[in-house]
Symmetry: C2
Subunit: 333 residues, 2 copies
């Protein structure tokens, strides 16, 4: 709960200063479903716009690949290097129960907790199965407070693809022999990640083969890519093997984005994708098409410089709803 009477600007100041209780309040505010809090949330996000400069790193992979253990090791190591670290874990909502099945207890290991890693789990998924709007807004808050923010999703379905729009670097965690190359390709998972990590290399001699297959698959699956290929590393999160190499690969990707100016382009594309997805969820493909018929979405987004993604979503939503105002939703069919 945010303190009554605390202004969004004061809260933004506390977030920027890395004040943990302020960050927790800000996350509650952007996750608050009540309309009355929305204006405050937008003011907060606008105030953080341009200040959310922490690096955003996505961790994805099949259930059981060892993502949580890897995150624990990565976060602990980064803390020991002096970076401030936050983890946002997306829990798959149970369709029957509506909430997350398991709480934070299962998700963060002892060492990360002891190192002072900030942890938050989000049960929120939109009803169509994708990552919710709240995920993006939560990352905006966390990236204003911490040097490095990890976001972890479970699953390898299409709905996880949206994570690409939210991060600077995407790490895919595989387990040895989780399936042959064709299976990886079928699931479409070779197209997006910037770094691959074959975990549990201690448990199986298959790790090396899996890595080779991944490398071959990346060649096949990215016919349009430039010369640069994402690195495929092996290691064991449990035994701390390969963690430094993984951090180096992530830093290398960051440096290569900075060198090539692909970073700002990727950020802009990600913002646009978040806006497009949020509007599609609220108003559907046909509602979105009506908006785009007036001017390209890019142009409409460009008309709101310095505004947060959420503010722009609300502005464009108002524009769509204005088109509904005249009549009721139709007569008898």
């Amino acid at each position: 709960m945010s303190t009554p009477g605390q202004s969004p600007l004061a809260l933004a100041e506390r977030v920027r200063a890395g004040d943990r209780s302020g960050v927790a309040q800000a996350l509650n505010l952007v996750d608050d479903g009540r309309a009355a809090r929305r204006a405050e949330a937008l003011d907060l996000l606008d105030a953080l716009e341009g200040e959310a400069t922490g690096r955003r790193i996505g961790i994805t992979g099949a259930p059981g690949a060892g993502k949580s253990t890897l995150l624990d090791a990565l976060a602990t190591r980064l803390c020991s290097l002096g970076r401030s670290v936050a983890i946002l874990a997306i829990d798959p909502s149970s369709r029957k129960s509506g909430g997350a099945l398991l709480g934070d207890r299962f998700r963060m290991g002892a060492s990360a907790r002891d190192s002072g890693v900030f942890f938050r789990s989000l049960a929120a998924r939109d009803q169509l199965g994708g990552l919710s709007e709240v995920t993006g807004a939560s990352l905006d808050v966390l990236a204003a407070a911490f040097d490095t923010v990890f976001v972890e999703t479970v699953g390898v379905g299409q709905s996880e693809a949206g994570i690409v729009d939210l991060v600077e670097t995407l790490v895919f965690v595989a387990q040895p022999a989780a399936g042959d190359l064709v299976q990886f390709m079928k699931a479409g998972i070779l197209e997006w990640p910037d770094v691959f990590f074959v975990n549990k290399s201690d448990l199986s001699e298959l790790a090396g083969r899996t890595a080779s297959e991944l490398r071959a698959g990346i060649e096949l699956g990215r016919p349009d890519a430039s010369g640069e290929r994402p690195p495929v590393l092996c290691g064991s999160a449990r035994d701390g093997i390969g963690i430094d190499a993984l951090i180096e690969a992530i830093d290398g990707h960051h440096a290569s984005l900075a060198r090539s100016e692909a970073g700002p382009r990727r950020r802009a594309a990600g913002r646009l994708a978040r806006i497009r997805t949020a509007l599609a969820i609220r108003y559907g493909t046909r509602g979105l098409a009506r908006l785009i018929a007036q001017a390209s979405l890019e142009r409409q987004v460009d008309a709101h410089p310095g505004r947060s993604v959420e503010r722009i979503i609300d502005r464009l939503s108002a524009r769509i709803e204005a088109g509904w105002a005249g009549t009721d939703a139709g007569a008898e069919t």
Copy 2:
């Protein structure tokens, strides 16, 4: 392509008779994106409504679990028992390339092909990552022509959950030690399947342990369920072990639905869910909310007895769009 001049009613007759070329034409028609063909597609689906009595069985599981091999074995065996069988495989669309990465070649084994199993793969996914509307309509066509229709999806994400609304029986294929119990529960996969099959029991002694963990997890994950628990079987699709037991379990589920009258209830709930999802994709959560503000979706659906799901979707769509007709999509923000 459907033959020019062929009426939807004549095509429906060919589908009901199990004429394979008629079935292929009908599938092309319901998958045809052009507005001009939509009226024909709806006439076809209306004509098949109530006749699509074939059993619909969903097969899901993580990439690499051996779903295709299992389907090959299942379909071949059912054919040898005198049933007519079709398989609809949902290919994960590549987000970059837009189409399915791999064609039918990889998906159906030699024995099913030799046995005369009808095979179709659909690349279609809606842009938000769920199963597309076309999946449901394709199953309506296939279930009017064949005794048994399998639908296979890849992935264990939330977007695959929609398959529950389309089938009578859902089979989950696991591989030994694909992850511990907590991981299965996190992915929310223990809530829905009617039958579990732990594949590759020949390759690993872990199969028995995985099955035990699944059984324990089902107890925990279905606190609201009645006394009946879904069976958890072990076997090896590659070596044909456990296939007859799996068929028996699927038949047993069918019989239990028939006994308990849960079958019609499940079918009705599935139809409603398909309509709700399709409208949410077209018009968003807010467009749908405007429609539901007039009367419950159930009541609006009940006003169209004997009509196909697709017809009802189009009728309700027209009602929503009537509410847009008055004004343009709004003024300057």
